[in-house]
Protein backbone atom coordinates (compact mmCIF):
# COMPACT_ATOMS: atom_id res chain seq x y z
CA UNK A 1 0.00 0.00 0.00
CA UNK A 2 1.27 3.46 -0.84
CA UNK A 3 1.44 5.67 2.21
CA UNK A 4 -1.50 7.82 3.22
CA UNK A 5 -0.66 11.52 3.26
CA UNK A 6 -1.68 13.54 6.32
CA UNK A 7 -1.23 17.25 5.73
CA UNK A 8 -0.83 19.21 8.95
CA UNK A 9 0.33 18.07 12.39
CA UNK A 10 -2.04 19.91 14.67
CA UNK A 11 -4.40 18.00 16.97
CA UNK A 12 -6.44 16.64 14.01
CA UNK A 13 -3.44 15.62 11.89
CA UNK A 14 -1.59 14.06 14.83
CA UNK A 15 -4.66 12.09 15.76
CA UNK A 16 -5.21 10.91 12.17
CA UNK A 17 -1.57 9.85 11.81
CA UNK A 18 -1.53 8.02 15.14
CA UNK A 19 -4.70 6.09 14.25
CA UNK A 20 -3.47 5.23 10.76
CA UNK A 21 -0.27 3.85 12.24
CA UNK A 22 -2.23 1.76 14.71
CA UNK A 23 -4.24 0.36 11.78
CA UNK A 24 -0.91 -0.65 10.27
CA UNK A 25 -1.04 1.80 7.38
CA UNK A 26 2.17 3.52 6.24
CA UNK A 27 1.69 7.24 6.86
CA UNK A 28 3.35 10.32 5.51
CA UNK A 29 2.85 13.21 7.94
CA UNK A 30 3.79 16.59 6.50
CA UNK A 31 3.94 19.73 8.62
CA UNK A 32 4.83 23.20 7.39
CA UNK A 33 6.23 24.39 10.72
CA UNK A 34 9.21 22.98 12.56
CA UNK A 35 7.18 21.73 15.54
CA UNK A 36 4.26 19.39 16.15
CA UNK A 37 0.93 20.33 17.69
CA UNK A 38 -0.19 23.26 15.52
CA UNK A 39 -1.66 26.38 17.07
CA UNK A 40 -1.79 24.98 20.64
CA UNK A 41 1.99 24.43 20.54
CA UNK A 42 2.72 27.64 18.70
CA UNK A 43 0.92 29.85 21.22
CA UNK A 44 1.64 27.77 24.35
CA UNK A 45 -1.98 27.13 25.17
CA UNK A 46 -2.41 26.87 28.91
CA UNK A 47 -5.32 24.83 30.28
CA UNK A 48 -7.99 23.53 27.95
CA UNK A 49 -11.72 24.01 28.45
CA UNK A 50 -13.86 22.61 29.87
CA UNK A 51 -11.97 20.34 32.28
CA UNK A 52 -9.04 22.73 32.72
CA UNK A 53 -6.38 20.16 31.98
CA UNK A 54 -3.03 21.39 30.65
CA UNK A 55 -2.75 21.34 26.85
CA UNK A 56 0.48 19.33 27.17
CA UNK A 57 -1.40 16.54 28.90
CA UNK A 58 -3.72 16.20 25.94
CA UNK A 59 -1.35 16.79 23.04
CA UNK A 60 1.78 15.27 24.63
CA UNK A 61 0.64 11.63 24.35
CA UNK A 62 -0.50 12.24 20.77
CA UNK A 63 2.88 13.69 19.83
CA UNK A 64 4.62 10.78 21.51
CA UNK A 65 2.57 8.27 19.54
CA UNK A 66 3.54 9.98 16.31
CA UNK A 67 7.15 11.00 16.86
CA UNK A 68 9.02 7.71 16.97
CA UNK A 69 6.57 5.53 15.14
CA UNK A 70 8.03 3.14 12.54
CA UNK A 71 4.85 3.41 10.50
CA UNK A 72 4.96 7.20 10.31
CA UNK A 73 7.34 9.11 8.09
CA UNK A 74 7.45 12.55 9.59
CA UNK A 75 8.44 15.65 7.62
CA UNK A 76 8.42 18.92 9.53
CA UNK A 77 9.33 22.19 7.88
CA UNK A 78 7.97 20.72 4.68
CA UNK A 79 5.10 21.27 2.32
CA UNK A 80 3.42 19.78 -0.69
CA UNK A 81 4.33 21.87 -3.72
CA UNK A 82 2.37 20.00 -6.37
CA UNK A 83 -0.25 17.29 -6.53
CA UNK A 84 -1.86 15.45 -9.39
CA UNK A 85 -4.13 12.40 -9.57
CA UNK A 86 -2.29 9.13 -10.14
CA UNK A 87 -4.38 5.98 -10.34
CA UNK A 88 -6.61 5.83 -7.30
CA UNK A 89 -4.38 8.16 -5.35
CA UNK A 90 -2.12 11.15 -5.95
CA UNK A 91 1.40 11.90 -6.97
CA UNK A 92 2.73 14.73 -4.84
CA UNK A 93 6.01 16.58 -4.72
CA UNK A 94 7.16 16.92 -1.17
CA UNK A 95 9.35 19.94 -0.64
CA UNK A 96 11.57 20.02 2.40
CA UNK A 97 14.30 22.52 3.25
CA UNK A 98 16.43 22.03 0.17
CA UNK A 99 15.13 18.79 -1.24
CA UNK A 100 12.18 17.99 -3.43
CA UNK A 101 10.99 14.41 -3.74
CA UNK A 102 8.10 12.94 -5.67
CA UNK A 103 5.93 10.49 -3.77
CA UNK A 104 2.87 8.46 -4.55
CA UNK A 105 0.16 8.40 -1.93
CA UNK A 106 -2.97 6.29 -1.78
CA UNK A 107 -5.19 8.77 0.04
CA UNK A 108 -5.00 12.25 1.52
CA UNK A 109 -6.19 13.67 4.82
CA UNK A 110 -6.27 17.46 4.89
CA UNK A 111 -5.81 18.64 8.46
CA UNK A 112 -4.53 22.09 7.60
CA UNK A 113 -6.33 23.92 10.37
CA UNK A 114 -6.95 27.56 11.07
CA UNK A 115 -5.10 30.78 11.78
CA UNK A 116 -6.02 33.14 14.58
CA UNK A 117 -7.52 36.34 13.19
CA UNK A 118 -4.93 39.10 12.88
CA UNK A 119 -6.30 41.58 15.43
CA UNK A 120 -4.44 44.47 13.85
CA UNK A 121 -7.20 44.46 11.25
CA UNK A 122 -9.64 45.68 13.92
CA UNK A 123 -7.59 48.85 14.12
CA UNK A 124 -10.06 50.59 16.47
CA UNK A 125 -8.88 48.31 19.29
CA UNK A 126 -5.30 49.50 18.88
CA UNK A 127 -3.74 46.03 18.86
CA UNK A 128 -0.12 46.36 17.81
CA UNK A 129 -0.26 50.04 18.75
CA UNK A 130 -1.00 49.98 22.49
CA UNK A 131 1.27 47.44 24.20
CA UNK A 132 -1.37 46.58 26.82
CA UNK A 133 -3.89 45.45 24.24
CA UNK A 134 -3.26 41.72 23.88
CA UNK A 135 -4.57 39.03 21.62
CA UNK A 136 -5.90 36.18 23.75
CA UNK A 137 -3.52 33.74 22.12
CA UNK A 138 -0.69 35.77 23.68
CA UNK A 139 -2.40 35.79 27.05
CA UNK A 140 -2.51 31.98 26.85
CA UNK A 141 1.28 31.93 26.92
CA UNK A 142 1.41 34.47 29.78
CA UNK A 143 -1.04 32.41 31.85
CA UNK A 144 0.90 29.27 30.97
CA UNK A 145 4.07 30.81 32.44
CA UNK A 146 2.12 32.55 35.25
CA UNK A 147 3.42 35.93 34.09
CA UNK A 148 0.31 37.98 33.51
CA UNK A 149 1.88 41.44 33.46
CA UNK A 150 1.28 44.63 31.55
CA UNK A 151 3.76 44.68 28.66
CA UNK A 152 4.04 48.48 28.93
CA UNK A 153 5.47 48.67 32.45
CA UNK A 154 5.78 45.06 33.62
CA UNK A 155 3.35 45.64 36.47
CA UNK A 156 0.56 43.23 37.38
CA UNK A 157 -2.84 44.40 36.14
CA UNK A 158 -5.64 45.23 38.55
CA UNK A 159 -8.45 45.02 36.09
CA UNK A 160 -8.68 43.14 32.81
CA UNK A 161 -11.32 43.28 30.08
CA UNK A 162 -11.94 40.70 27.42
CA UNK A 163 -13.58 41.75 24.17
CA UNK A 164 -15.34 38.85 22.50
CA UNK A 165 -15.94 38.32 18.78
CA UNK A 166 -12.86 40.19 17.50
CA UNK A 167 -12.67 39.16 13.87
CA UNK A 168 -15.80 37.06 14.21
CA UNK A 169 -19.44 37.86 13.50
CA UNK A 170 -18.25 41.01 11.81
CA UNK A 171 -19.19 41.88 8.26
CA UNK A 172 -16.79 44.84 8.21
CA UNK A 173 -13.78 42.58 8.12
CA UNK A 174 -15.60 39.92 6.14
CA UNK A 175 -15.89 37.23 8.82
CA UNK A 176 -19.57 36.75 9.57
CA UNK A 177 -19.15 33.36 11.26
CA UNK A 178 -18.84 32.50 14.96
CA UNK A 179 -15.47 31.13 16.08
CA UNK A 180 -17.19 28.80 18.60
CA UNK A 181 -14.36 28.93 21.14
CA UNK A 182 -13.77 32.63 21.83
CA UNK A 183 -16.35 32.67 24.61
CA UNK A 184 -15.21 29.55 26.37
CA UNK A 185 -11.50 30.32 26.05
CA UNK A 186 -11.93 33.89 27.34
CA UNK A 187 -14.03 32.62 30.24
CA UNK A 188 -11.45 29.94 30.95
CA UNK A 189 -8.67 32.54 30.93
CA UNK A 190 -10.62 34.73 33.34
CA UNK A 191 -11.16 31.74 35.62
CA UNK A 192 -7.47 30.79 35.49
CA UNK A 193 -6.43 34.33 36.36
CA UNK A 194 -9.01 34.65 39.16
CA UNK A 195 -7.92 31.30 40.57
CA UNK A 196 -4.33 32.41 40.92
CA UNK A 197 -4.89 36.14 41.44
CA UNK A 198 -8.26 36.89 43.02
CA UNK A 199 -7.21 40.53 43.40
CA UNK A 200 -7.48 41.03 39.63
CA UNK A 201 -10.99 41.93 38.48
CA UNK A 202 -12.15 40.29 35.28
CA UNK A 203 -14.79 41.74 32.94
CA UNK A 204 -16.01 40.16 29.73
CA UNK A 205 -17.72 42.31 27.10
CA UNK A 206 -20.11 40.10 25.16
CA UNK A 207 -22.89 40.22 22.60
CA UNK A 208 -23.97 36.66 23.35
CA UNK A 209 -22.24 34.07 25.47
CA UNK A 210 -21.96 30.95 23.31
CA UNK A 211 -20.59 28.32 25.64
CA UNK A 212 -22.61 25.70 23.83
CA UNK A 213 -23.45 22.24 25.12
CA UNK A 214 -21.78 21.11 28.31
CA UNK A 215 -19.39 24.08 28.29
CA UNK A 216 -22.22 26.03 29.87
CA UNK A 217 -20.97 24.67 33.17
CA UNK A 218 -17.75 26.65 32.93
CA UNK A 219 -19.69 29.83 32.17
CA UNK A 220 -21.84 29.36 35.27
CA UNK A 221 -18.84 28.55 37.43
CA UNK A 222 -16.97 31.59 36.20
CA UNK A 223 -19.72 33.82 37.60
CA UNK A 224 -20.70 31.88 40.68
CA UNK A 225 -17.33 30.68 41.91
CA UNK A 226 -14.87 33.15 40.44
CA UNK A 227 -16.92 36.35 40.24
CA UNK A 228 -16.17 37.04 36.59
CA UNK A 229 -18.40 39.90 35.43
CA UNK A 230 -20.21 39.98 32.10
CA UNK A 231 -21.05 43.33 30.52
CA UNK A 232 -23.31 43.29 27.51
CA UNK A 233 -22.09 45.37 24.60
CA UNK A 234 -19.43 45.47 21.97
CA UNK A 235 -16.53 47.84 22.59
CA UNK A 236 -16.26 50.45 19.85
CA UNK A 237 -12.80 51.82 20.49
CA UNK A 238 -9.81 51.59 22.79
CA UNK A 239 -7.84 54.68 23.76
CA UNK A 240 -5.48 55.83 26.50
CA UNK A 241 -6.24 57.75 29.68
CA UNK A 242 -4.97 61.30 29.83
CA UNK A 243 -1.75 60.29 31.53
CA UNK A 244 -1.33 57.49 29.00
CA UNK A 245 -0.94 54.85 31.68
CA UNK A 246 -4.17 52.92 31.35
CA UNK A 247 -6.49 51.94 28.55
CA UNK A 248 -10.03 53.13 28.14
CA UNK A 249 -12.64 50.90 26.58
CA UNK A 250 -15.34 53.01 24.98
CA UNK A 251 -18.61 51.30 24.33
CA UNK A 252 -22.23 51.06 25.18
CA UNK A 253 -23.56 48.98 27.99
CA UNK A 254 -26.69 47.86 26.22
CA UNK A 255 -28.39 46.76 29.43
CA UNK A 256 -27.70 50.13 31.01
CA UNK A 257 -28.50 51.93 27.72
CA UNK A 258 -25.70 54.34 28.41
CA UNK A 259 -22.28 55.03 26.94
CA UNK A 260 -19.37 53.79 29.00
CA UNK A 261 -15.72 54.78 29.13
CA UNK A 262 -14.06 52.47 31.57
CA UNK A 263 -10.35 52.31 32.38
CA UNK A 264 -8.56 48.96 32.26
CA UNK A 265 -4.98 47.80 32.79
CA UNK A 266 -5.11 45.11 30.14
CA UNK A 267 -7.52 44.56 27.28
CA UNK A 268 -7.63 41.11 25.75
CA UNK A 269 -9.04 40.48 22.29
CA UNK A 270 -10.73 37.14 21.66
CA UNK A 271 -9.57 36.84 18.07
CA UNK A 272 -11.56 34.54 15.85
CA UNK A 273 -10.61 31.61 13.65
CA UNK A 274 -9.87 32.05 9.97
CA UNK A 275 -9.01 29.41 7.40
CA UNK A 276 -5.29 28.73 7.77
CA UNK A 277 -2.88 29.60 4.97
CA UNK A 278 -2.28 25.85 4.66
CA UNK A 279 -6.00 25.35 4.17
CA UNK A 280 -6.07 27.82 1.29
CA UNK A 281 -3.04 26.17 -0.32
CA UNK A 282 -4.52 22.71 0.12
CA UNK A 283 -7.77 23.69 -1.54
CA UNK A 284 -5.85 24.87 -4.59
CA UNK A 285 -3.50 21.86 -4.67
CA UNK A 286 -6.24 19.25 -4.49
CA UNK A 287 -9.02 21.28 -6.16
CA UNK A 288 -11.22 21.11 -3.08
CA UNK A 289 -14.13 23.55 -3.14
CA UNK A 290 -14.23 26.15 -0.41
CA UNK A 291 -17.28 27.93 0.96
CA UNK A 292 -17.74 31.70 1.01
CA UNK A 293 -15.87 31.72 4.34
CA UNK A 294 -12.79 30.08 2.81
CA UNK A 295 -13.02 26.82 4.76
CA UNK A 296 -12.99 23.49 2.92
CA UNK A 297 -16.48 22.29 2.04
CA UNK A 298 -17.44 18.74 2.98
CA UNK A 299 -19.71 16.83 0.59
CA UNK A 300 -22.61 16.76 3.04
CA UNK A 301 -21.82 19.13 5.87
CA UNK A 302 -25.11 18.31 7.54
CA UNK A 303 -24.03 14.66 7.76
CA UNK A 304 -20.30 14.62 8.46
CA UNK A 305 -17.38 16.94 8.04
CA UNK A 306 -14.88 14.26 7.00
CA UNK A 307 -15.96 13.13 3.52
CA UNK A 308 -14.95 15.54 0.79
CA UNK A 309 -16.86 13.78 -1.97
CA UNK A 310 -13.60 13.75 -4.01
CA UNK A 311 -11.84 10.43 -4.50
CA UNK A 312 -9.37 9.68 -1.71
CA UNK A 313 -9.58 13.08 0.02
CA UNK A 314 -10.74 13.42 3.61
CA UNK A 315 -10.89 16.32 6.05
CA UNK A 316 -10.12 16.59 9.73
CA UNK A 317 -10.19 19.47 12.18
CA UNK A 318 -10.53 23.20 11.71
CA UNK A 319 -9.85 23.07 7.97
CA UNK A 320 -13.62 22.77 7.50
CA UNK A 321 -14.57 25.44 10.03
CA UNK A 322 -13.94 26.60 13.59
CA UNK A 323 -13.49 23.61 15.83
CA UNK A 324 -12.52 22.74 19.37
CA UNK A 325 -9.55 20.50 20.10
CA UNK A 326 -11.56 17.40 21.13
CA UNK A 327 -13.64 17.72 17.97
CA UNK A 328 -10.48 17.96 15.88
CA UNK A 329 -8.97 14.89 17.55
CA UNK A 330 -12.18 12.91 17.05
CA UNK A 331 -12.38 13.91 13.41
CA UNK A 332 -8.77 12.85 12.94
CA UNK A 333 -9.77 9.37 14.09
CA UNK A 334 -12.73 9.28 11.72
CA UNK A 335 -10.71 10.55 8.79
CA UNK A 336 -8.02 7.93 9.46
CA UNK A 337 -10.61 5.18 9.23
CA UNK A 338 -12.16 6.54 6.02
CA UNK A 339 -8.78 7.04 4.35
CA UNK A 340 -7.66 3.55 5.39
CA UNK A 341 -10.83 2.00 3.94
CA UNK A 342 -10.30 3.86 0.67
CA UNK A 343 -6.61 2.97 0.39
CA UNK A 344 -7.20 -0.73 1.11
CA UNK A 345 -9.99 -1.26 -1.41
Amino acid sequence: MNPILVLGAGPAGLSAAAELASLGAPTLLVEKESYLGGNPTRWHYSLLAPDLRPAEEILGPLIQRVEHNPKIELHTGSLIARAEPEGKGYRVSLQSKDTVQTREVSAVILATGFDHFDSRRKFEYGYGHFPDVLDFKELEGMIHDDKVLRPSDGKPPRRIAWILCVGSRDIQIGNPWCCRMGCVVSIKQAVEIRQKHPEIDAYIYYMDVRTYGLWEDLYWKSMQEYGVKFIRGRIGAVSLTEGGKRLIATGEDTILSRPTEVPFDLIVLASGMEPGTGTKEASELFHVPVGPEGFLTPKLSDMNTIDSGLPGIYFAGAATGPKAIPDAITEGMGAALRAFQYARE
Binding site: R232, E242, L256
Partner: protein
Amino acid sequence: MPIVEKSLVRVKRTEKLELDGIDVSGDWNTFLESRVQTDLDVGIVDWVRSQPQGDTIDRCWQCGTCTAGCCMHTDYGLEEFNPRYFIYLAQIGYEEELRRYAQTIWRCVSCNKCVERCPKGVKVEEVVHTIGTYLEASGRAPESPADRFDRAYTENLLDRGILDEAGLFRTYERLEGRKTPVRELLRMGTSLLLSGRLHTGPLAHRTKGWRRMRPVLKGLLDEDLRQRRESAQATRPVGRREP
Protein backbone atom coordinates in the same frame (compact mmCIF):
# COMPACT_ATOMS: atom_id res chain seq x y z
CA MET B 1 -28.61 69.14 18.11
CA PRO B 2 -32.14 68.86 19.44
CA ILE B 3 -32.64 66.32 22.19
CA VAL B 4 -35.28 63.90 21.02
CA GLU B 5 -35.35 61.40 23.89
CA LYS B 6 -36.36 63.73 26.73
CA SER B 7 -36.61 60.90 29.23
CA LEU B 8 -32.84 60.39 29.00
CA VAL B 9 -32.00 63.96 29.93
CA ARG B 10 -30.99 64.60 33.50
CA VAL B 11 -30.64 68.20 34.46
CA LYS B 12 -28.27 69.58 37.04
CA ARG B 13 -28.93 72.98 38.51
CA THR B 14 -26.91 74.66 41.21
CA GLU B 15 -28.34 77.33 43.50
CA LYS B 16 -25.94 80.04 42.53
CA LEU B 17 -23.29 80.22 39.86
CA GLU B 18 -20.66 82.81 39.20
CA LEU B 19 -18.35 82.78 36.20
CA ASP B 20 -15.48 85.29 36.12
CA GLY B 21 -17.18 87.33 38.82
CA ILE B 22 -20.45 87.54 36.90
CA ASP B 23 -23.54 86.07 38.46
CA VAL B 24 -25.07 83.73 35.90
CA SER B 25 -27.63 82.06 38.16
CA GLY B 26 -31.00 81.37 36.60
CA ASP B 27 -31.62 79.78 33.26
CA TRP B 28 -27.93 79.91 32.44
CA ASN B 29 -27.40 77.78 35.43
CA THR B 30 -28.76 74.55 33.96
CA PHE B 31 -26.47 71.79 32.78
CA LEU B 32 -27.10 68.42 31.24
CA GLU B 33 -25.40 65.67 33.20
CA SER B 34 -23.10 63.42 31.23
CA ARG B 35 -24.58 60.03 30.59
CA VAL B 36 -21.15 58.45 30.20
CA GLN B 37 -20.50 55.85 32.84
CA THR B 38 -16.89 55.58 33.98
CA ASP B 39 -17.23 53.60 37.19
CA LEU B 40 -17.09 49.91 37.87
CA ASP B 41 -17.26 49.56 41.63
CA VAL B 42 -16.68 45.95 42.65
CA GLY B 43 -17.29 46.95 46.25
CA ILE B 44 -21.06 46.74 45.88
CA VAL B 45 -21.23 43.16 44.66
CA ASP B 46 -18.51 42.10 47.09
CA TRP B 47 -20.59 43.41 49.97
CA VAL B 48 -23.88 41.98 48.74
CA ARG B 49 -22.23 38.59 48.23
CA SER B 50 -20.81 38.68 51.75
CA GLN B 51 -24.30 38.92 53.24
CA PRO B 52 -26.19 35.70 53.94
CA GLN B 53 -29.17 36.96 51.94
CA GLY B 54 -27.16 38.24 49.02
CA ASP B 55 -24.85 35.37 48.21
CA THR B 56 -26.75 34.28 45.08
CA ILE B 57 -26.17 37.59 43.26
CA ASP B 58 -23.35 36.21 41.09
CA ARG B 59 -25.70 33.72 39.49
CA CYS B 60 -27.76 36.34 37.66
CA TRP B 61 -27.34 36.44 33.89
CA GLN B 62 -29.95 39.06 33.13
CA CYS B 63 -32.63 36.96 31.46
CA GLY B 64 -35.42 39.08 32.96
CA THR B 65 -37.65 36.26 34.16
CA CYS B 66 -37.92 37.95 37.56
CA THR B 67 -39.06 41.29 36.20
CA ALA B 68 -41.42 39.63 33.74
CA GLY B 69 -43.39 38.13 36.61
CA CYS B 70 -42.85 40.89 39.14
CA CYS B 71 -46.17 42.08 40.55
CA MET B 72 -44.76 45.55 41.28
CA HIS B 73 -43.38 45.94 37.78
CA THR B 74 -46.08 44.23 35.74
CA ASP B 75 -49.31 44.15 37.72
CA TYR B 76 -48.94 47.30 39.76
CA GLY B 77 -47.29 48.99 36.80
CA LEU B 78 -44.34 50.55 38.61
CA GLU B 79 -42.09 50.33 35.59
CA GLU B 80 -38.99 51.61 37.33
CA PHE B 81 -39.14 48.75 39.81
CA ASN B 82 -37.02 46.29 37.87
CA PRO B 83 -35.25 43.66 40.00
CA ARG B 84 -33.25 42.38 37.02
CA TYR B 85 -31.84 45.88 36.50
CA PHE B 86 -31.06 46.48 40.17
CA ILE B 87 -29.04 43.27 40.22
CA TYR B 88 -27.12 44.24 37.09
CA LEU B 89 -26.26 47.68 38.46
CA ALA B 90 -24.96 46.09 41.65
CA GLN B 91 -23.12 43.31 39.83
CA ILE B 92 -21.23 45.56 37.46
CA GLY B 93 -20.95 48.34 40.00
CA TYR B 94 -22.74 51.31 38.42
CA GLU B 95 -23.19 53.02 41.73
CA GLU B 96 -24.38 56.39 40.54
CA GLU B 97 -27.19 54.83 38.53
CA LEU B 98 -28.08 52.47 41.36
CA ARG B 99 -28.44 55.33 43.83
CA ARG B 100 -31.37 56.66 41.81
CA TYR B 101 -33.35 53.61 42.84
CA ALA B 102 -32.51 53.72 46.54
CA GLN B 103 -36.16 54.38 47.39
CA THR B 104 -37.87 52.44 44.63
CA ILE B 105 -36.02 49.31 45.63
CA TRP B 106 -38.07 49.10 48.84
CA ARG B 107 -41.35 48.88 46.96
CA CYS B 108 -40.97 45.09 46.71
CA VAL B 109 -43.87 43.33 48.42
CA SER B 110 -41.98 40.04 48.78
CA CYS B 111 -44.42 37.92 46.81
CA ASN B 112 -41.40 35.78 45.86
CA LYS B 113 -42.62 34.89 42.38
CA CYS B 114 -39.18 35.89 41.11
CA VAL B 115 -37.48 33.43 43.43
CA GLU B 116 -39.81 30.64 42.31
CA ARG B 117 -39.19 31.32 38.64
CA CYS B 118 -35.49 32.20 38.44
CA PRO B 119 -33.76 29.59 36.22
CA LYS B 120 -30.44 30.17 37.95
CA GLY B 121 -31.56 29.98 41.53
CA VAL B 122 -31.03 33.64 42.38
CA LYS B 123 -32.96 34.50 45.52
CA VAL B 124 -34.06 37.69 43.80
CA GLU B 125 -36.21 39.05 46.59
CA GLU B 126 -33.44 38.67 49.16
CA VAL B 127 -30.74 39.96 46.83
CA VAL B 128 -32.75 43.07 45.94
CA HIS B 129 -33.34 43.82 49.60
CA THR B 130 -29.66 43.34 50.32
CA ILE B 131 -28.82 45.86 47.59
CA GLY B 132 -31.24 48.29 49.21
CA THR B 133 -29.63 47.68 52.57
CA TYR B 134 -26.22 48.35 51.06
CA LEU B 135 -27.31 51.71 49.70
CA GLU B 136 -28.80 52.64 53.03
CA ALA B 137 -26.01 51.35 55.22
CA SER B 138 -23.18 52.75 53.14
CA GLY B 139 -24.76 56.16 53.41
CA ARG B 140 -24.54 56.54 49.66
CA ALA B 141 -28.22 57.12 49.06
CA PRO B 142 -29.60 60.60 49.62
CA GLU B 143 -32.00 60.70 52.56
CA SER B 144 -35.58 60.82 51.35
CA PRO B 145 -38.88 61.72 53.04
CA ALA B 146 -39.48 57.99 53.38
CA ASP B 147 -36.18 57.61 55.26
CA ARG B 148 -37.07 60.45 57.62
CA PHE B 149 -40.51 58.93 58.21
CA ASP B 150 -38.88 55.58 58.98
CA ARG B 151 -36.58 57.25 61.45
CA ALA B 152 -39.42 59.13 63.14
CA TYR B 153 -41.50 55.96 63.27
CA THR B 154 -38.74 53.87 64.86
CA GLU B 155 -37.96 56.53 67.46
CA ASN B 156 -41.61 56.99 68.26
CA LEU B 157 -42.14 53.27 68.72
CA LEU B 158 -38.98 52.88 70.78
CA ASP B 159 -40.06 55.66 73.09
CA ARG B 160 -43.01 53.88 74.73
CA GLY B 161 -43.26 50.53 72.96
CA ILE B 162 -46.53 51.53 71.36
CA LEU B 163 -47.17 53.87 68.49
CA ASP B 164 -48.33 57.41 69.22
CA GLU B 165 -49.83 58.41 65.86
CA ALA B 166 -50.37 62.05 66.61
CA GLY B 167 -46.85 62.36 68.03
CA LEU B 168 -45.40 60.68 64.96
CA PHE B 169 -47.25 63.11 62.76
CA ARG B 170 -45.88 66.08 64.70
CA THR B 171 -42.31 64.83 64.52
CA TYR B 172 -42.56 64.09 60.82
CA GLU B 173 -43.99 67.53 60.11
CA ARG B 174 -41.10 69.09 61.97
CA LEU B 175 -38.54 66.98 60.09
CA GLU B 176 -40.05 67.91 56.74
CA GLY B 177 -40.52 71.55 57.67
CA ARG B 178 -44.17 71.27 56.70
CA LYS B 179 -47.25 72.98 58.12
CA THR B 180 -50.62 71.29 57.77
CA PRO B 181 -53.65 73.61 57.63
CA VAL B 182 -55.70 73.75 60.86
CA ARG B 183 -58.83 72.49 59.13
CA GLU B 184 -56.92 69.35 58.04
CA LEU B 185 -55.48 68.88 61.55
CA LEU B 186 -58.97 69.05 63.03
CA ARG B 187 -60.25 66.48 60.58
CA MET B 188 -57.44 64.05 61.36
CA GLY B 189 -57.68 64.71 65.10
CA THR B 190 -61.40 63.99 65.14
CA SER B 191 -60.95 60.75 63.31
CA LEU B 192 -58.15 59.66 65.66
CA LEU B 193 -60.25 60.61 68.63
CA LEU B 194 -63.25 58.66 67.38
CA SER B 195 -61.16 55.55 66.74
CA GLY B 196 -59.68 55.83 70.21
CA ARG B 197 -56.12 56.45 69.20
CA LEU B 198 -55.60 60.01 70.29
CA HIS B 199 -53.50 59.15 73.29
CA THR B 200 -50.70 61.57 72.72
CA GLY B 201 -48.21 63.53 74.77
CA PRO B 202 -48.70 62.91 78.52
CA LEU B 203 -51.76 60.75 77.78
CA ALA B 204 -49.85 58.35 75.58
CA HIS B 205 -50.01 54.66 76.37
CA ARG B 206 -46.94 52.73 77.39
CA THR B 207 -46.15 49.04 76.96
CA LYS B 208 -45.90 47.17 80.25
CA GLY B 209 -42.31 46.70 81.38
CA TRP B 210 -41.04 48.92 78.58
CA ARG B 211 -38.54 50.71 80.79
CA ARG B 212 -36.53 47.48 81.01
CA MET B 213 -37.20 46.31 77.46
CA ARG B 214 -36.31 49.51 75.72
CA PRO B 215 -32.53 49.63 76.32
CA VAL B 216 -32.19 46.01 75.18
CA LEU B 217 -34.01 46.60 71.93
CA LYS B 218 -32.32 49.93 71.32
CA GLY B 219 -28.90 48.41 71.95
CA LEU B 220 -29.61 45.64 69.45
CA LEU B 221 -30.85 48.01 66.78
CA ASP B 222 -27.92 50.36 67.23
CA GLU B 223 -25.43 47.53 67.12
CA ASP B 224 -27.00 46.10 63.97
CA LEU B 225 -26.96 49.47 62.27
CA ARG B 226 -23.37 50.12 63.32
CA GLN B 227 -22.19 46.78 61.95
CA ARG B 228 -23.95 47.19 58.64
CA ARG B 229 -22.62 50.72 58.27
CA GLU B 230 -19.07 49.71 59.02
CA SER B 231 -18.99 46.80 56.61
CA ALA B 232 -20.71 48.71 53.83
CA GLN B 233 -18.38 51.67 54.20
CA ALA B 234 -15.32 49.47 54.24
CA THR B 235 -16.01 48.27 50.69
CA ARG B 236 -13.25 48.77 48.24
CA PRO B 237 -13.69 52.01 46.34
CA VAL B 238 -12.14 51.52 42.92
CA GLY B 239 -12.79 52.49 39.39
CA ARG B 240 -12.59 56.23 39.25
CA ARG B 241 -11.11 57.34 36.01
CA GLU B 242 -7.48 58.04 36.66
CA PRO B 243 -5.49 60.74 34.93
